[in-house]
Symmetry: C2
DNA sequence: AGACTATATGAGTATATAGTCATTCACTTG
DNA sequence: CAAGTGAATGACTATATACTCATATAGTCT
């Protein structure tokens, strides 16, 4: 049970970085190869590759080879649920801050 | 909209660390003061304080003063939903790995 | 085999993070 | 106001992270 915490942390950490979030957002509609991903998020190929690998070993993404290309996809649909919930929290908090700013 | 990503990443990063996960787990039943939290998770008071502050500014926790004591609580119930989903993913993945190990 | 394309990796750098120990700050109460 | 308690912070260390540039690897096609 000790590792459950580590494992959960690994997944959440994998999601908690802007470049990786951009990747997740881009993969929302389905699998994509690296050659599509790195231009879409405007990052270097090598940097993108490292982030993809990191998310793969965290259990967030899956990988499929097809000839020269390697396709990554979001491994669990629940990941998208998580993202949606977090987006909801953020939006709530932002409107909350506006309210505070107006009050000040 | 640029900041939405940063904000989401901040929240997820705040959740993606074992010590902080222990805190979240401990706060599941409601607010607790620092003096209850750090013994419960077996971490130093100062380290605990830093993590609490970090999660506070990430928008994950809320804080309430009462005399000498400071009570922290999970700010959004959705955070717990996120934790539940991630736990589900982990358990799925672990049974998946067992299957793989047995097959090997 | 040789040229080509897609992805991964080595090496390096700059910055961030988690943690510790000692101290300070904030508040309460005698 | 002095003593005491609970929480935050300064200073430091060790490690991890994100990123870049250059190179290596793996697969394809002629």
């Amino acid at each position: 049970m000790r590792d459950l915490i580590e494992y959960r942390a690994e997944i959440l950490k994998a999601l908690g970085q802007p470049t990786r979030l951009k990747i997740i957002d881009f993969l929302r509609d389905g699998e994509r190869c690296v050659c599509e991903i790195f231009p879409a998020i405007a990052e270097e190929q090598s940097n993108t590759s490292r982030h993809l690998n990191m998310m793969l070993s965290a259990g967030v993404l899956s990988r499929r080879k097809d000839g020269l290309k390697i396709y990554y996809a979001i491994k669990h649909p629940e990941i998208l649920e998580v993202m949606d919930i977090v987006t909801r929290i953020v939006k709530q908090d932002i409107t909350g801050r506006h309210r505070l700013l107006k009050a000040a």
